[in-house]
Structures are given as structure tokens and as C-alpha cells.
């Protein structure tokens, strides 16, 4: 079942600037309108239970798209359906079905305890008292927050606070959760814990996850599908496995030889760096093989060899830059 349907979505931001005279000086009163296509005619669909990464560089239009999906921004044109609702017309109804977690903006009242906050959110979402207590207990067990949920939010660590933010977003059993950089500022252990919890929500509670983050590790671990948006357009919409298969085809080989030799580049083999007996070589596995590389030098001269894949982060950076060949 499709939970998100987006067709030809467009969002223009219009700003006014003072017009310039022929001599280059700014006019005192005359203004001109400048239109920026933040989101430029995009279409995509999301199936129920998917874990989708919606990523792109700063200013690409991903946040604008997410805000249109949640009814915060009004689209200039195009159609959006989220869980059967038009977000702009049924924003409040939709809000009962979705949850949001923003890494950079806490939704909790900081002088109150997490538990008091959960009670508040329960009343906001019209959850009955008994049902709410049960739900808090259930989520407190999953997220392991029982020992600190009675402390004031301001006394919690960032990791603990994010866990509480997630619990607050899940109290009303949303069918879809939007995460906007939930791991920002967290240490590697807290990041790992949070990623596991998001995966757990997706698997065990069958909640559809829409995830935006600049941390490729988050995306790699949590999401099965990735949409990359740049300059308002979708530049890639693929599942993570395909992305890795097609784009992780370049290996970086670092070799240390006993003596200096003159290596010749071949089709698919690029020498990135050569210093004394150390060589850094890029091998395109679609065009050649490691065996082919090994034939370039005498294996008896080999002292040390390291083979690694191009990091996913590097690949995504290249896609952002438009170098996805």
C-alpha cells in the first residue's frame, strides 16, 4: 500500500530585491521579484513500512519537501497524498497519523520530567489515561528510559533526551515517522543505539520511516531506499543495495613494493599517488580486475597491500556534485 504519493511537486520561493539601474546602482523604490525553484517538479511514491532516506546537500530542497509532506509548507503546484490525506488541507488530521523527531529542535518542555512531557503529549493526541500509561510503559521498555524518565529533561544527556523525544513522537502510534538529523551532535555509541532503535521501530512496529541526515552512516544502517535530491530535482531514487552495487564498484588499492617501479595506467586503473615505493591506485571493477592490477608489477616485490572500497560518503558527495559516472 502506498503511503506517500507525490506528483509533479513544485515549490517556488519568491523574494524581492531592489532593482538595479543601468549604471549598476540600486533603485530607491523599484523592486523586482526573484523566484527560486526550491523543489522542481519531483514525483515519487513510498510504500507502507519502507525506511527511506531523503538526502541532499544544504539548500537542495529536501527539507522543503519534507515540510510540504507534513503540511507545514504549501506547495506552489503538484499533488501530495500522505496516508490518504492532502497535507495542506488536512494538516491537523494528518498530524494524528505522523510523528516527527528533529535533532536540532527539542519538542519537550525542558523544566519538566520526560514522564510529565509524555502526559502532556498524551493529552494533545487525545490518548486515554489508561492507554497512555500502558503505552509509556511499553515504549519506556523498548527505549530503556525507565531509570531517567522522571528526571527533568534539562538534566538529561543529549542521547537520553533524543530517546525521550522519540518516545514522545511514538505515543500516539504514528503510521509514519519523519526524522530530521536525529543523531546530530551524538557520540558514536549514542548514535549506534539510536540507529538500532529506529530500525527496531521500523521492523517491529511497522512504522514507515522518512529519514533526512547528512550522516551517511545513519542512512547506510537505517534505510533500505535512498532518494537524493539536488537543486530541487531528484537525482537518484534507488534501493541501498543497488546503490552500493552500482556505485561501490571502485576499489582503492594501496601497495608498498620492495623497490620503485614505473607503473603504467590501463583502462580502469588510475594511479592516484606514487611516492617512492608506495602507490595508491584506483581500480574500476566494472572495467578491469585486481588480477589485472597485480600483473603490472612483480608479486615477489610486494611488501604490503591494502584493498578498500570507496566510502559511501565519497560516492554520495560525487552524486551531489553531479559526478556519478
Amino acid at each position: 500500500m502506498k503511503v506517500i504519493e507525490v506528483k509533479n511537486l513544485q515549490k517556488n520561493f519568491i523574494r524581492k530585491e531592489k532593482a538595479k539601474k543601468d549604471n549598476g546602482k540600486k533603485c530607491l523604490f523599484k523592486k523586482i521579484k526573484i523566484t527560486k525553484n526550491a523543489v522542481d517538479n519531483i514525483s515519487f511514491e513510498v510504500e507502507e513500512g519502507e525506511a527511506l532516506a531523503f538526502i541532499g546537500p544544504n539548500g537542495a530542497g529536501k527539507s522543503t519537501t519534507i515540510k510540504m509532506l507534513t503540511g507545514i509548507l504549501y506547495p506552489t503546484s503538484g499533488e501530495i497524498k500522505v496516508l490518504g490525506f492532502n497535507p495542506t488541507k488536512n494538516r491537523v488530521k494528518l498530524s494524528y497519523e505522523i510523528g516527527t523527531v528533529f535533532g536540532q529542535k527539542e519538542q519537550l518542555w525542558v523544566h519538566l520530567s520526560a514522564y510529565e512531557n509524555f502526559k502532556f503529549f498524551g493529552s494533545i493526541y487525545n490518548i486515554k489515561k489508561d492507554e497512555l500509561e500502558k503505552r509509556i510503559d511499553e515504549l519506556a521498555n523498548i527505549f530503556e528510559i525507565k531509570e531517567f524518565m522522571y528526571q527533568t529533561v534539562k538534566s538529561l544527556s543529549l542521547g537520553q533526551r533524543m530517546k525521550c523525544e522519540m518516545v514522545a513522537s511514538l505515543l500516539h502510534k504514528p503510521k509514519m515517522l519523519f526524522f530530521d538529523e536525529p543523531t546530530i551532535g551524538l557520540d558514536p555509541i549514542a548514535k549506534e543505539t539510536l540507529r538500532k532503535l529506529i530500525k527496531k521501530i521500523n521492523k517491529e512496529l511497522h512504522t514507515t520511516i522518512i529519514f533526512t541526515s547528512h550522516d551517511i552512516g545513519d542512512i547506510e544502517e537505517v534505510c533500505k531506499r535512498v532518494i537524493i535530491i539536488n537543486n530541487g530535482k531528484i537525482v537518484l531514487d534507488d534501493n541501498m543495495r543497488n546503490l552500493k552495487y552500482h556505485y561501490l564498484n571502485k576499489k582503492i588499492v594501496e601497495v608498498n613494493l620492495k623497490k620503485s617501479v614505473k607503473l603504467k595506467e590501463k583502462n580502469g586503473i588510475t594511479i592516484l599517488k606514487a611516492k617512492d615505493t608506495l602507490y595508491k591506485i584506483e581500480v574500476d571493477m566494472n572495467k578491469t580486475s585486481i588480477d589485472e592490477l597485480m600483473s603490472l608489477f612483480n608479486t615477489e616485490d610486494l611488501q604490503d597491500i591494502t584493498i578498500s572500497s570507496t566510502p559511501l560518503e565519497e560516492i554520495i558527495k560525487n552524486i551531489y556534485r553531479g559526478k556519478n559516472d
Binding site: 527539507s63 507534513t70 491537523v92 529542535k105 525542558v110 487525545n126 527533568t152
Partner: protein, 265 residues
């Protein structure tokens, strides 16, 4: 409506944790009352000597001023406007729009709770300071306390709504606080410093039918010269203006929300 009472309750509970801020407010309030008492002593010529100015004795005038200062201290006008306009300008409003409540109503109830919390402490402080400086007020009965508190509560709520509605102008203009500043100064001149009777005859009906009367002069007059007719008149004025400004606020919000322009993320 239950959810907005929950917002009010939660905001009130959060406020109870910031007692130090309240304490400084109470101290400066007591100092201001003392300064104004000295000023009015001078205007009335020594201890007043039973002299009346526009029907107000020195004692009545200072009790009026104490009540007016309570309202002024309870509702920080610029804080209300900024609560709205900062959210709108910075885009923080976006994080509230995906919740199942009306942002305007959420802010009004949340901010009102902060001011009601202050009111709870400033009223007894004002009464104690007044009793110490002036002694008891003439013709005052304790049964008037409940309607007066009701009127103060409505005044606080109305003032929050008015300055909140001004804050919504941030959807269209860069800076809404100058409007608050202007309204606040009018409120001070026509409500805080002098009762309506101190103004020219032609201006008095304008003041009485203006929101300033419902926000400030009306409830303060109740304290110095209580009558059930006056209470009814003030309450009708307050409720009418609450309805009017809520409608204006909701209309502004409805149109303004379409102008939310949040980039980045």
C-alpha cells in the same frame, strides 16, 4: 478545548520551576510601588489630607496604581509578541505546525499560564505592600475578591491575546515589536498612570469603550470603587474584546500560515 487546558497546565507547571525569575520581578514591583506612592504623595500635597482629585482620594489612587502595576508586571507585552514573531521569523513555527493543535491558541494558553503564575504572586504582594503603606481600603469587602480576581484573570488573558495578535503581524512584516511598544505606551498613559476620570470629558468615553479599559482601567477601578454594575460592565467589555481579538488572531493566523517560508534543514 481540553488540550489547550493541558497546554495551560503544563506551561504553568513549567513556570513553577523558575522561581528565581519571579522573585526578582516581585522585588522590583515592590520598589516601583514605593516610588509611585512617594510621587502621588507629592501630587496630593503631603499626606493627602482628604483631598480628592477627580473623585479619587490619595488612598484610592495608590490602590488603583498598585492594581495597574500588577497587571503591567504580570503580562510582559514584548515577551508575548516576541514569542510569536521570533517563532515566525526564525521558522521555529514549522516544528509546531505538525502537532494536532492550533499554534495561535497553543501560544495564547501557554503564555497566559506564565502570566497567571506571576499574577498569583503579585496580587498578594501588592495587597501586602498596599496595606503596609496605606492601610485598608475604604468600603472594601472580602466578597469582592473573587469577582476582582476573575476580572484580573480576564484582563491578563485579553492582554496576552492582543499582544499575541500583534506578534502574528510578523508573517507580513519584519519587526512586530514596534507596534507592541506603541500599544504598550498607550496602555500606560491611558490605563496605568491615570484612571479614565483624569482625562478630558471628550476622551473618557473613548477610553471606556477601548480595549485599554478592559485590559487595565476597568479591573483596577473595581478594586477602588467596587459595584456589581461596574463588574458586569467590565466583564462584558473584557469578554467582547477577547472574542473580537481571538477572531482577528485566527483570521490573521489562517492567512499568515500560508506565508510560512522556512528554508533549510
Amino acid at each position: 478545548m481540553t488540550k489547550y487546558f493541558s497546554v495551560f497546565k503544563t506551561s504553568l507547571r513549567q513556570e513553577t520551576k523558575t522561581f528565581a525569575d519571579l522573585l526578582t520581578s516581585i522585588i522590583s514591583f515592590a520598589v516601583i510601588i514605593y516610588i509611585f506612592k512617594m510621587l502621588w504623595d507629592f501630587i496630593y500635597g503631603g499626606n493627602g489630607g482628604g483631598q480628592l482629585i477627580y473623585g479619587y482620594s490619595l488612598n484610592m489612587m495608590i490602590w488603583y496604581m498598585i492594581m495597574a502595576e500588577i497587571l503591567m508586571y504580570s503580562v510582559r507585552a514584548t515577551n508575548v509578541t516576541k514569542a510569536f514573531s521570533n517563532d515566525i521569523k526564525s521558522g521555529k513555527i514549522a516544528y509546531q505546525l505538525n502537532k494536532p493543535y492550533n499554534y495561535y491558541a497553543y501560544q495564547v494558553f501557554s503564555q497566559s499560564a506564565i502570566f497567571i503564575w506571576k499574577l498569583i504572586f503579585l496580587v498578594p504582594t501588592g495587597i501586602i505592600v498596599g496595606l503596609l503603606l496605606l492601610g485598608s481600603i475604604e468600603n472594601f469587602s472580602f466578597i469582592y475578591i473573587i469577582p476582582i480576581l476573575f476580572s484580573l484573570f480576564l484582563a491578563t488573558f485579553l492582554t496576552t491575546i492582543i499582544y499575541g495578535t500583534v506578534g502574528l503581524l510578523a508573517f507580513w512584516i519584519e519587526e512586530a515589536t514596534p507596534f507592541t511598544w506603541i500599544i504598550q505606551k498607550i496602555q500606560m498613559i491611558l490605563g496605568l498612570f491615570f484612571p479614565p476620570e483624569f482625562f478630558p470629558f471628550w476622551l473618557q468615553p473613548i477610553i471606556i469603550y477601548s480595549p485599554i479599559y478592559a485590559m487595565m482601567s476597568g479591573p483596577c477601578k473595581l478594586f477602588v470603587d467596587f459595584s456589581w454594575d461596574l463588574f458586569l460592565q467590565v466583564s462584558i467589555s473584557q469578554i467582547s474584546y477577547i472574542i473580537l481579538f481571538v477572531v482577528i488572531g485566527l483570521i490573521l493566523y489562517k492567512f499568515g500560515i500560508k506565508k510560512v517560508n522556512v528554508n533549510g534543514g
